[in-house]
Symmetry: C2
Subunit: 292 residues, 2 copies
């Protein structure tokens, strides 16, 4: 195990402990509601957003304990977005992380409610954090706006709107990437910065936007080159469904060059930060080279 | 116009001003997202929850201005719940307030996102309120939990789960009524109480739970006795879809007797509150006698 892998695993384990505790205490009624929430929260996943948040926390000397509920809220929001995104009238994916999507197990009605429930619970957790001081209100509000109608939801809406557009423009592609994918990654990096009086706010913001675009572009590449076994979800769907992807704008080879460029952007931005950014650099390479 | 109608209209107008301002400033992209939010927010509605909140505010001497963002957030949440509830895999209603439901105008995918967007925006508004002090954090958290997995979403989930149950029990019916319907009404009455150091918290809580059950029971009665013209939505659907209603438990006449009992409960609870509760009493009769 490389030191990156070991560190990733350490952050991931710290988060799984928080998530396990949350799921253990989740006993809302009817039980199908609790079960559907737990199902989607625990069918795996890289926990990229919590890991990134903890890593930025370590860089800025904000302890995990202070970030735990933000990481949890963010993963709840990420999970709700996947449940709703997988629905037949959205991306229509039957599989997620190698397992049947939430709506395939619990039905579409329950999946809609599970998503709503996760989103609402995320904010119930964050309102509790607000009692800890104004910087916590700012951090919660920032996270909320990243997930909202000028953030992730705007990206999802644009993604839906531009499906089957004949012409792909960089402007619209960037809008979709930066909102649909970068905004939650942005919450990961910026929450620790806000809790540390805005330290490295602009750098971590720029880093997150580039990393998010890189993540989405590699997602587009993997939809072409990856397999169900690697990804745990259907591949080759973007083309069939006329999705607005980097592949359509840059081609496959062009997308890889663009991914290298985004990687360079991330690394350059990290140069502007004092302190140990090794993990964030390695994480950038990890996102570039990921096969799932 | 009776003094009740005139007062109702006054509260309603005050709220419409707040809502108009919000809608006017709503310019998220893509425009279809903003349009779908505005569509559902402005196709009418009694604004019962904001009106009730302002009325409780007047009773407790909490000014409208202080409540405006709570009333707005609550109406956003109520509206999201209607959009998601009308979806084909939920209650499958093509009409709402006499107009085509959100998904009939914008498509199911956009309607899911519109609901998500309204819910998220409600909390973005409330995080801003949190800067005004701990009582605002408490009020926001309370409202959030009323809408959540131990509140409205639990009620929606139970409603879905028990569709087509052969036997209707009072225990399950109360669970559905109290969560699906009473919990948002509870937020209306309790937010002003929390902002006034918990004054009449228990009384206003008990009142709201009874009023919410009364509202839902009259909804069930109107599904039998009302018409599309009156209600602006389809009627007679509960029976066809095997919904878990008061009608099935008490019968139509029994439901009316139960509605009278709930009305009496509300009035009795209001007796325990000093100050002018005339409007709340009249509002109870209004809910009992409503034809839409």
């Amino acid at each position: 195990m490389t030191s990156f892998e070991s560190k990733y695993s350490e952050y991931q384990s710290a988060f799984e402990t928080v998530l396990d505790k949350f799921c253990g205490a989740l006993n809302c009624k009817p039980s199908v509601l609790a079960d559907s929430l737990k199902y989607s929260l625990t069918i795996g996943g890289k926990r990229l957003r919590p890991v990134l948040m903890y890593a930025c926390g370590e860089l800025l000397e904000v302890e995990n304990k202070k970030l735990a509920n933000y990481a949890l809220a963010l993963e709840l929001i990420h999970t709700y977005s996947l449940i709703h995104d997988d629905l037949p009238d959205m991306d229509n994916d039957d599989f997620r992380r190698g397992k049947p999507a939430n709506h395939k197990v619990f039905g579409t009605g329950n999946a809609i409610l599970a998503g709503d429930g996760l989103l609402n619970t995320a904010y119930s957790i964050l309102f509790n954090e607000c009692f800890n001081g104004n910087e916590h209100i700012s951090a919660s509000k920032y996270l909320c706006d990243c997930a909202g109608i000028d953030g992730m939801i705007a990206g999802q809406s644009a993604d839906l709107l531009h499906e089957n557009d004949e012409i792909v423009t960089e402007e619209i592609l960037n809008f979709i990437y930066e909102n649909k994918t970068s905004k939650l990654i942005l919450a990961s990096t910026v929450v620790p910065a806000i809790l540390k009086c805005g330290k490295y706010f602009s750098e971590l913001k720029a880093f997150a936007i580039n990393l998010g675009c890189l993540f989405q572009l590699t997602d587009d590449i993997l939809d072409v080159e990856g397999s169900f076994e690697q990804l745990g979800k259907s591949t080759g769907k973007d083309k069939i469904e006329g999705k607005y992807t980097g592949i359509r704008l840059y081609g496959l080879d062009g997308s890889k060059l663009k991914a290298d460029l985004l990687t360079d952007n991330c690394l350059k931005i990290l140069e502007g930060i004092e302190g140990n950014t090794e993990f964030l650099k390695d994480l950038t390479y990890f996102v570039r080279q990921r096969i799932n």
